[in-house]
């Protein structure tokens, strides 16, 4: 019995010594390793895939976060054809204003107005369904849905056309799929479906499918080069491959603002118009200069 107890004592002794050992020989790294286990893990969401919610003129998978408001002004100028119209800057082709608000981190609501060609008001929703993640539970890409109900408010002739409200509506649906490959390179593919209730002529299709492709490459901490191309599927007779929209440009980010400068053959800045194979011929110098300015405002409870 006594022997038994002695053995027990020894074991307990050994245990307590063992418990003491790491405490005594503790190196700096051990304490930090212990802390690492203690630290609440972050959600490992891949951030900053793009600098802004637009690739250039089209939507990106970036979203407006909860209680944040994005105010954006975009312009496209006239065709760059010589000094006599100051390379297009004499005329403003399009004036686009948009407000986008983050209802939650995953649902964003927006309104926008484009003056040309139809004085279009766009009411949009963007749902960030899936986010790219790394770490212990990785996910390879981000997926968002962008939908917009556009209302053309310009005056039409004849009067019957003017009074046809449903004929003023068009619907934009986009699936946005992006992946940040490394800290510099991000790419996006966006199947796009535009439906117009009423078209200008009988030959114009109501339903148009496009696939947008684009990406960005960071060339410095604050500047990225971007490009995007809207390939419209040739499902209708008037399709002309040279009228697909192309935009190349750059993001410049300066703290609270993001500036985007680009060259594009598009003259409209809402997808209901630029994603439907109606832009100029980029390679026949139907190129316009455009830019947008984005300012973020916060309605976060934290703001004082």
């Amino acid at each position: 019995m006594k022997k038994c107890l002695a053995v027990l004592c020894l074991i307990v002794c050994a245990l307590s010594v063992y418990a003491q050992e790491p405490a005594n020989n503790q190196q700096d790294d051990d304490l930090f390793a212990e802390l690492d286990d203690l630290t609440i893990e972050s959600d490992n969401e891949v951030i900053a895939t793009f600098k802004s919610t637009r690739l250039l003129i089209g939507q990106s998978t970036e979203r407006v976060k909860q209680r944040q408001l994005h105010f954006r002004i975009s312009h496209v100028f006239g065709k760059i054809k010589g000094i006599d119209n100051f390379f297009g800057l004499d005329q403003i082709n399009n004036m686009h204003i948009s407000l986008e608000y983050g209802l939650t981190d995953f649902i964003q609501l927006g309104i926008a107005r484009s003056n040309k060609p139809d004085k279009t008001y766009s009411n949009s929703i963007k749902v960030s369904a899936l986010r790219q993640r790394d770490g212990t539970s990785p996910f390879p890409f981000a997926l968002s849905y962008f939908g917009s109900l556009d209302i053309k408010t310009r005056e039409y002739f004849p009067e019957a056309r003017n009074k046809n409200f449903s004929g003023r509506l068009e619907y934009v649906n986009q699936l946005l799929i992006s992946r940040k490959f490394n800290k510099d390179l991000s790419l996006q593919v966006s199947p796009t479906f535009v439906y117009r209730n009423l078209t200008e002529t009988e030959n114009d299709p109501n339903a148009i499918f496009s696939i947008a492709m684009g990406g960005r490459y960071l060339i410095s901490r604050s500047i990225s080069l971007n490009a995007e191309y809207y390939y419209t599927l040739p499902t209708f007779d008037t399709h002309d491959a040279s009228k697909n929209t192309l935009a190349v440009g750059m993001d410049i980010e300066t703290g609270g603002h993001v500036f985007q400068l680009y060259f594009t053959n598009a003259f409209a800045l809402h997808p209901g118009k630029f994603a439907i194979n109606q832009s100029g011929d980029f390679f026949n110098r139907d190129i316009n200069f455009g830019f947008s300015i984005l300012r973020e405002f916060s309605f976060s409870k934290k703001s004082k």
Binding site: L5, D28, L35, T39, E41, Q66, E253, T254, G255, E296
Partner: protein, 180 residues
Amino acid sequence: MNKSLTLLLVLFTVAVTQAQEKLITRTGVITFSSETSMENIEATSSQAASIFDTSKNVIAFNVLLKSFKFEKALMEEHFNEKYVHSDKYPAAKFKGTIDQDIDLNTAQVYKDVTISGSMILHGVTSPKTVKAVIEVMEDKSVKVTSDFKITLATYKVEIPSLVKDKISADIDVNLEANYK
């Protein structure tokens, strides 16, 4: 026989006490702020982990930079992406020894305590001494608060010239940890 049992009990007690010599928290609150005439920026994390090794008077902190919440979402993104590169250097760490003697068995407030050690941020390790207040509560729990400054240049955190007026070169840090 009785002696043996007593010995056993004592040994057990020692073992248990050993385990209790580390006070921990997972929800320390760290706030940092930058004040300039152009813009005030503030961010808070309430997920700072800390261990207070009372046997050696050592305190260590670990906070993930992505856990800092900013008022403006874009700022939070820029902080992680452009300034502290949290993909590469996910955490800020500090470890230091308390220079004064502290009795953790009686409720008392120790003001003007200094903790000397080093801080790791943005991949740079630099010696750091901070002033702190240590409060020992009635229930033997411990509260540590500290205010200190860090200089961004020390940790090679670069500010682009474009926003030099908007971000202070010295950042004020406020820390509060309640240990159990």
